[in-house]
Amino acid sequence: MDFSELSHQTEIRDSLDKILSEHCSQERLKKYDADFKHDEDLLSLLSTNGFLGLGLNEKYGGSGEDLYDLGILFERLGYHAAPLSLSGCLADVAQTIQKFSNEESCNEILSSIIAGEIYTSAILEPSNQDPENPITAAEIENNQVVITGTKYLSEIASIAKSILISTNSNEGVLLILVDTDQVKLTELNSTANSPLFKVELDSVKVDRESIIHEKGRGLEALKYLIQLNMVMRSYIALGVTEKMTSLIAGYTSEREQFGRVIGTFQAVSHRAADCFIELECLRLVNQQASINLNTNLDCENEALVSKIWAGNACHKISYSAQHLHGGMGVDKDYVLWRYCLLAKECELINGSASQNINRLGENITTNQ
């Protein structure tokens, strides 16, 4: 039993905080409140400092295959409300390719991701509750695959070189990397102004080599991708809720009413303490899930538990933070509001708490 971070992990956290706190000042974040929310300078800085290789094998230029390291990156991005949406690129694409693709693809794609090239995924579909069973269809014709379907909530697709698409075919599930210029993109306007896209594929033809995995391993790869995405999103949620909780503690320790600091009222401090408890639970279930995913490609129940806690923590802590800040909490000149929007995004994308509870219950009762 050892809950301590290794020294290199603490270093990752510290240096990320240094870079991110400089780059995510209120002034800079304001710039992205209405614009395309993607900080190119910050991305290249993360690349130069090796942070895009977290969780990737050294032989591709990464810093080692530990998903906990990658979790730290997402946690800190969440904590600083960084204008970067990277779970599609660094979790979905990079990790799934590392685990399921051949050496050649790994060499090519992973090293370019580390260098700052953007890839993304498009997994979720409107009106499909079960991402493991995509509606998007792939027809295999000789050496070609023809894909038709609609995906949504694909991150930063407009600047991605290629998009990893999940499909169903007569060979089962296939994960296929499609060049972005072959699809139709529509930007969606969502609650936290994150760059999310609808991706339409109308008989898009790609080579068979664009399937990223061995024959017959598509479903396994897709399940891994979905689980990893849940866990990494839960790390973003951890950063977001950690920041909100520290804002609560800071604000209520200074704000005075009735001649005393409001944090000295038990009604206030106890609500803050409940946020701390929620946060601690989320941190632990995330750690367990990411560590287990390191050695086991299928940890669905652990991933579900982590996303369930993330969904609940995002909801509860966000509203506690808004409430305990009073009007300040909703004032756009103060920092909290951005986190509240991000919290709702983390809560809902790739499975809400209720949806995942349902899924977990299904697994438990069928002994999975």
Partner: protein, 393 residues
């Protein structure tokens, strides 16, 4: 980071499990199912304690020099977990809290006469801390021990002295300095329950667990019955508190119950082609309990790891206490919903389910949110130590 038990710990777990399976005979099980023996104290219980003593399973947390096994906090946690899963009312407070303190801080008499017998499984202690007017604010306690030429004269009253009805001694917190600030004037004594000045009246609780009000009327004890330095008792009261709180919220029993409820739901037919576990709300409740247990297990494991590495983290110990105690109440409710009306049938009733454990557990669950340091105080600690907020008033 490594979040699992190592081989040695798994081995200990298996060893303990086998041991308790053989220790708990049908006769002992029958005895423990009677309300007056829920907490032990019967002849079969006493026999089992002596067996454990001679087999070396008492004193696991004690230092080796006092005849203990000096297990690490995580190993102690595993011990508590495994014992609690079996349902044996192991007297942890006597063996793991009072025992090692007497072995370390007691007089020569106490070490030889008391500590040794605790190790052998021959003695049980009741804990005399709370008083009618000193509960959460324990340091305000008023039971007096007045110095005399040949010892101390004790007078006062204690509340919630559990196990006193079959204890040999009371581990008694008294005030010995009336001038000093609250927690600075407290001393600990070993008080025999066969003294004519000792008496009690039973308090019967909602959970059918008996506890007692105990009275101390001019009880004279020799100097040898003082444990630790005079007026230094507070640190003895608080030194083991974190481990004790952790034992209260051990994830073992609730996980054991969850497994049994799951199995019951999977094997209970509700019509010709459906089982209870096929219902969506049943799955929902099971998943809620499952994800709650996962967090509890991790919180507890982390806490043992913190203790093992010698760090002190007050906020996290309080997180464990608050989360665990409030989760139990929620978990029992969710599981009782699954079993439905049958879960209100008592242990001696026809049609009872799972030995009516849910029926009993829900009645005892409320004790934990206020016992062992009430959750309001724990939340105060979390806000102060975890969030660095100002002290509440």
């Amino acid at each position: 980071m490594l979040i699992q038990l190592n081989q040695k710990q798994v081995k200990l777990q298996n060893e303990l499990q086998e041991y308790f399976e053989s220790l708990i005979t049908p006769a002992l099980r029958t005895e423990l199912n009677q309300p007056e023996h829920f907490e032990g104290g019967g002849p079969e219980f006493k026999k089992a304690m002596k067996t454990m003593g001679s087999d070396g399973w008492i004193g696991l947390s004690w230092k080796k020099e006092f005849g203990g096994k000096e297990l690490s906090p995580i190993e102690q946690y595993i011990f508590v977990e495994t014992v609690m899963r079996t349902g044996f009312p192991f007297p942890f407070l006597t063996t793991e809290s009072v025992g090692p303190m007497i072995a370390e801080h007691g007089s020569e008499w106490a070490k030889e006469e008391i500590a040794t017998k605790i190790l052998k499984g021959e003695l049980i202690f009741g804990i005399g801390y709370s008083e009618p007017n000193s509960g959460t604010d324990l340091a305000s306690l008023q039971t007096k021990a007045i110095k005399q030429s040949d010892g101390y004269l004790i007078n006062g009253q204690k509340m919630w002295t559990s196990l006193a009805n079959f204890s040999d001694y009371i581990w008694l917190a008294t005030r010995t300095d009336f001038e000093a600030k609250n927690h600075k004037g407290i001393s600990m004594f070993i008080v025999p329950t066969d003294d004519p000045g000792f008496s009690m009246s039973a308090i019967n609780t909602l959970g059918d667990v008996r506890t007692n009000a105990t009275f101390y009327d001019n009880i004279h004890v020799p100097e040898t019955h003082l444990v630790g330095e005079l007026n230094q008792g507070w640190s003895l009261i608080t030194s083991q508190l974190n481990l004790e709180r952790l034992a209260l919220v051990n994830h073992g029993p609730v996980e054991e119950l969850y497994k049994d409820v799951l199995e019951t739901a999977q094997s209970t037919k509700i019509n010709n082609d459906q089982y209870l576990s096929d219902l969506s709300w049943v799955k929902h409740n099971l998943a809620q309990v499952h994800s709650g247990i996962e967090a509890l297990k991790l919180i507890c494991w982390k806490q043992t790891w913190i203790m093992e590495s010698g760090q002190l983290n007050m906020a996290e110990a309080s997180v464990a206490k608050v989360y665990g105690s409030e989760f139990f109440i929620e978990a029992y409710r969710l599981m009782m919903e699954i079993i439905g009306e049958l879960s209100i049938l008592k242990n001696d009733s026809e049609l009872k389910i799972l030995n009516a454990r849910l029926e009993r557990m829900y009645r005892t669950a409320s004790i934990l949110t206020f016992g062992g340091g009430t959750n309001e105080v724990q939340r105060d600690i979390i806000a102060m130590a975890g969030l660095l907020m100002p002290r509440t008033r």
